[in-house]
C-alpha cells in the first residue's frame, strides 16, 4: 500500500506540472493581458504616466520582466510563477485589489455550508431510494423512480431557479422567501437560534435547486451496487443460516454497497468546494462560484487562474484520498 501511495504521489507530479503549465499558458496568452489594470478602472481618466506605472506593476507581478525591466523568457516566467505559487503567494485580484487567498477565505465557508447541507439532503433521499428501487427491480416503482429522477436531473437549473425565484420570492406573485443573500439585515439583534433559523429560511430555495438534480445519479449507483451485492455468495450464506431478510439486507448487503459510496463521495468533494456558479449567481450568494463568475466578466485573470488551480489541486488530492479510504474500508481491495 505504501508503495502504491508513493507511486500515485510520483505520478501526480507530472500531472500537476502539466496542469499548472496549462493554467499559466491560458492566462499568459490571453489577449490584452499586459495592458494591465488600466482597462478595469473604467471611467477614471488616468495620466499616461499612471497608466504606464500600472502596466509596469502588472508586468512585474506576472513575471513578464525582471527587476531591471528586461523581458524574461517563457519557461523562466513559468518557473517563477510556479515558485511564488508554491511559496503560498497566490495572485492578487485586479478588481478587488486583495490577495486571492483572502477572497477564497471569505467565500469558501459560504459555499461549503450550502453544499454540505445539499449533499446531506441528496444522500437522505438517494440511499432509501436506491434501496427501494433495487428491491423492486423492474416493477413500476423502480421504473417510475428511475424516470422521475432522470427527469429531475434533466430539468435545467437556470429555468427552475429563476422560476422559483420569480414566483416565490417576488412581490409580484408570492413573496414567501427572500430573493437574495443569506441573512436578513437585522442579524445583530437576533438570538443564536433566530440567526440559524433566519439562515435556513434564506437557503431554502438555493438548497432546493442544488439537490434535485443529484438524486438520479446517486440512486442509480446505489441501486446498481445493491443489485450486484445481492448476487454474491455471502448473501446466500446469510439467508441459508436463517437470518431474517431485513438483517440480510441492512447488515450485509447495504453495508457492502456503501463501499461504492466512498468513491462517489470523494469524486463529488471538489464540486462541493467549487460551488455552483449558476445557483450562486441566481440567488446572489457571495460564494466561490459567484467569485469565479464575476472575475470572468471583469476578466480578473489572477482570480480565475488561482481558483482553477486550487480547485484542481483539491480534485487530485481527493481522488488520492478516495483510493486510500477505499483500501482502509475494504482491505480486500489492493492496488498494484
Amino acid at each position: 500500500m505504501t508503495t502504491y501511495i508513493i507511486r500515485r504521489l510520483l505520478l501526480m507530479i507530472p500531472t500537476l506540472l502539466g496542469m499548472t503549465f496549462m493554467l499559466f499558458a491560458v492566462v499568459r496568452f490571453a489577449p490584452g493581458l499586459t495592458t494591465g489594470g488600466g482597462q478595469f478602472s473604467a471611467g477614471i481618466m488616468q495620466s499616461r504616466q499612471a497608466q504606464k506605472q500600472e502596466q509596469q506593476i502588472m508586468e512585474r507581478r506576472l513575471h513578464l520582466v525582471d527587476k531591471n525591466g528586461h523581458p524574461i523568457n517563457l519557461v523562466m516566467q513559468y518557473i517563477l510563477w510556479l515558485k511564488s505559487t508554491c511559496e503560498g503567494h497566490l495572485g492578487t485580484s485586479i478588481v478587488y485589489q486583495e490577495p486571492v487567498l483572502t477572497l477564497i477565505e471569505q467565500r469558501l465557508p459560504v459555499t461549503l455550508t450550502i453544499n454540505a447541507i445539499a449533499m446531506a439532503v441528496i444522500y437522505l433521499v438517494s440511499l432509501p431510494g436506491g434501496l427501494i428501487t433495487a428491491l423492486n427491480q423492474g416493477r413500476l416503482i423502480d421504473r417510475g423512480y428511475g424516470f422521475f429522477s432522470l427527469a429531475l436531473y434533466s430539468l435545467p437549473v437556470i429555468w427552475l431557479g429563476s422560476t422559483l425565484l420569480g414566483f416565490f420570492a417576488n412581490p409580484q406573485y408570492f413573496n414567501w422567501f427572500p430573493s437574495a443573500g443569506l441573512h436578513s439585515t437585522n442579524t445583530g439583534d437576533m438570538t443564536y437560534f433566530r440567526y440559524i433559523a433566519d439562515y435556513l429560511y434564506h437557503i431554502v430555495l438555493p438548497i432546493v435547486c442544488s439537490v434535485y438534480g443529484g438524486f438520479a445519479f446517486l440512486s442509480k449507483q446505489i441501486r446498481g451496487s445493491i443489485l450486484e451485492n445481492l448476487q454474491q455468495d455471502y448473501v446466500r450464506t446469510a439467508r441459508a443460516k436463517g437470518l431474517p431478510e431485513s438483517t440480510v439486507l441492512v447488515r450485509h448487503v447495504f453495508r457492502n454497497s456503501l463501499l461504492n459510496l466512498i468513491t462517489l463521495t470523494g469524486m463529488s468533494l471538489p464540486g462541493l468546494l467549487g460551488g455552483s456558479v449558476i445557483i450562486e449567481q441566481i440567488f446572489s450568494i457571495n460564494g466561490m462560484g459567484r467569485l469565479a463568475y464575476t472575475s470572468t466578466l471583469s476578466r480578473d485573470l489572477p482570480v480565475i487562474q488561482d481558483l482553477a488551480l486550487v480547485g484542481s489541486v483539491l480534485t487530485l488530492l481527493s481522488y488520492l484520498a478516495v483510493d486510500i479510504c477505499y483500501h482502509l474500508a475494504d482491505p480486500r481491495v489492493i492496488y498494484d
Binding site: G18, L150, S154, I158, G166, V277, Y293, T296, A308
Partner: protein
Amino acid sequence: MTDLTLSPMDQPALSAPRPYWGWVAVRLFRPLLVRLCAAYLAVLVLIALLVPFIANGQPYTCIVPATAGHAAMREYPLFRDLSTVSWILLVVAAALGAQGVVISLSHRLPKVQRMMRRRVGAVAITGITIIVGSLIAALHHNRLDAVNYRSLARHGLITHAVFPPVPWGYAEMEPLSKGLINQYPSHRHWLGTDGDGRDELSRLLWGARIAMGVGFVSQIIALAIGIVVGALTGYFGGIFDIILMRLVEMVESIPTFFLILTFVAVYGRHIFDIMVIIGVTGWTGYARLLRAEFFRIRNLDYVLAAQGSGMPLWRVLFKHMLPNGVTPVLVSAGFGLAGAVTIEASLSYLGVGVQPPTASWGSMLNSAGNPATVFRWWQALGPGMLIFITVLAFNLFAESLRDAIDPTTMGRR
C-alpha cells in the same frame, strides 16, 4: 445515422442473421417512449437545419408590381439573403433527405442497395454535399436586408408575397413606438414578444439551431479527441499510456465549468469558440471508456489476426477494434449531448455565451426579466420547457441505448 435508418424491422423474418446493430436497434426502439424521444429529436434537428424557411421576416417569393419604366419583377428575398451557414445546412438537410429516400427505395434496386451497404453511396452523397455547400459558400455574399416586407405587402408595394409560417426574423424588433414589447401571446405573436419587441416563437425556433449546433459539433470534437487518445493509450499501453493519461488527468482535474468559464473569459464568445471550448474540455470520459475497452480487445484473436495479416495500424485500430469498443462511448456521447446543451444554455443565461442578437434558449431565459422583481413567466416557459425536454430526450435515449446494449439484460423483456 445510416445504421439506425437501416432498421431491421422491415426485414423479412428468418432471413440472414441480424447484425449486432440490428439487434440493438430492435431492442432500442421497442418502448414507445424511446420512439417519441427519437421523433422529437429528429424534428428538432430538422428545425435546426431548416429554420430560415420556418421563421423569417422575408417572404419566399413576391412580385414587385410594374411601375413607370420598370416591368413587374419576381423577387426571392429569403433565398437571396440566406447566410452562408444556412446554405450549408440546407444542403446538408437535402443530402440527408436524399440519403433517406435512396435507402428507403433501395430494396427495389439491388445494385443501389449493394452500393449503400458498401457505404459508397453514403460517401458519394456526403461528398456532393460538401462540394455543393462549399461552392455556395464561396459564391455567396451576405447582405443586410432591413426591409419590412410585411409592411410592403400590406401597403401593396409588393404582391403575391408568400411568407414563412412564422413571419418574423429572430432579430426583428417591433418598432418602439407601437409599444409591442413584452407582449402576452396574441394572434400577431403566437408566443408573445420579448423586451426588445422580438417574436418569441421565432427566437425559440432559431434557438434550436444554436442548441443542436453546439451539442453536436462540440460532442463530435470531443469524440474525435477522446477516441484517438483512448485508442492509442489502450492499444499501446506502457509509457504511451502513462504520458497520455497524465494529459487526461490534467484536463479532468480542473472543474469543468470553471475551465469553460476560464476559456470563455480569455478567448472570445463567438458561437464557434463555445463549440470548440465545450469540445476540448469534455473528451476525457470518452478517452477513459475507450481505453478500458481497448485493453480488453487488444489481445483477442481477431485483432492478432488483423495485425498478423499486415494491415496498417490505423486500419486495425479504427476499422477492426473501434466498432467493437465504441458502444459505451456512444452511450456516453448521448449524455454528453445533453450536457453540452445544458452548458450552452447556462453560459448564455449567465451572459457569457452567444452574443446578442443571436437567439439562444439560455439568453431568452435570461431576458425573461430579473426573477426577483419582474418575472415574465410566459417568456421563461418556452425556452425552459425546450431545454428540459431536449435534455431529457437525449438522456432517455442514451439510457435506453445503454440498456439495449447491456448483455445482462439481453434475454429479458
